[in-house]
Subunit: 140 residues, 2 copies
């Protein structure tokens, strides 16, 4: 199943199969008026299956967060039907207010209005730790 | 934005813009291994905007429930790239275990394991009432 090319917008490609919906939520695409296409379990030469999101609009967003969800994602910025920019993502070194610390004794669990902040402590194993209590965040 | 035709599967068309995700949840499409494409806010000649879902597989499902979500939906059953069946939906007269009664005093709110059952009492105004306590269900 293919979607024809976007005239102006973004193509978020090579999303791990099944993760598109999570990205859809993160980017608040449900609240947008522009055309959005989500293809789940599209055929991929590399990985067998992948997800793709196409957005028919220029949205400004924090691409770094997507790197946290799935660092293998590529983002193609399209104008006049041509890819004008290709963005390769990577694991961000710090993420703020994306996920919450699960330690019930962590200050972020007790106090409100504190920035939920995690640091990448092990790039190989993709381990993030809460900067306040050092608890590792477990990604599903 | 278009998606090329499905070889074998279903095309759920004329979904009210913004409602595709609700249908996606109802049909448990997130748990399926087949290719699924969701197009939100696609251009439509009739209504300006619409959502479309394409499923590259033959799934058995309760189409009636979709009529409750949006009676204007059409379902095209596709085989060998050709539409072999067109299903027009309508408001189902009875829905079971699709939505819950919001009346805290309703028996379905108090007792567990009771079938949540609503009857269509006003077709014009699309009003469904709980068969136990007569409370109207308000659709968003």
């Amino acid at each position: 199943m293919n979607i024809d090319s976007v005239e102006k917008g973004l193509v978020i490609d090579h999303i791990q199969a099944g993760k598109a919906m999570q990205i859809y939520q993160y980017l608040n695409l449900d609240k947008m008026d522009c055309s959005v296409a989500i293809i789940k379990n599209a055929k991929s030469k590399k990985t067998g299956k992948k997800d793709i999101i196409k957005i028919e609009d220029n949205i400004t967003m924090d691409f770094k967060v997507l790197g946290f969800i799935d660092p293998n994602i590529t983002i193609n910025v399209i104008d006049n039907g041509v890819i004008i920019k290709k963005i390769k993502l990577e694991l961000p070194s710090v993420i703020e207010n994306v996920v919450k610390c699960k330690n019930p004794r962590c200050i972020t669990s007790v106090e409100q209005e504190i920035v939920h902040k995690f640091k990448l402590t092990d790039k190989e194993k993709k381990i993030y730790r809460c900067v306040y209590c050092d608890t590792a965040y477990e990604q599903n």
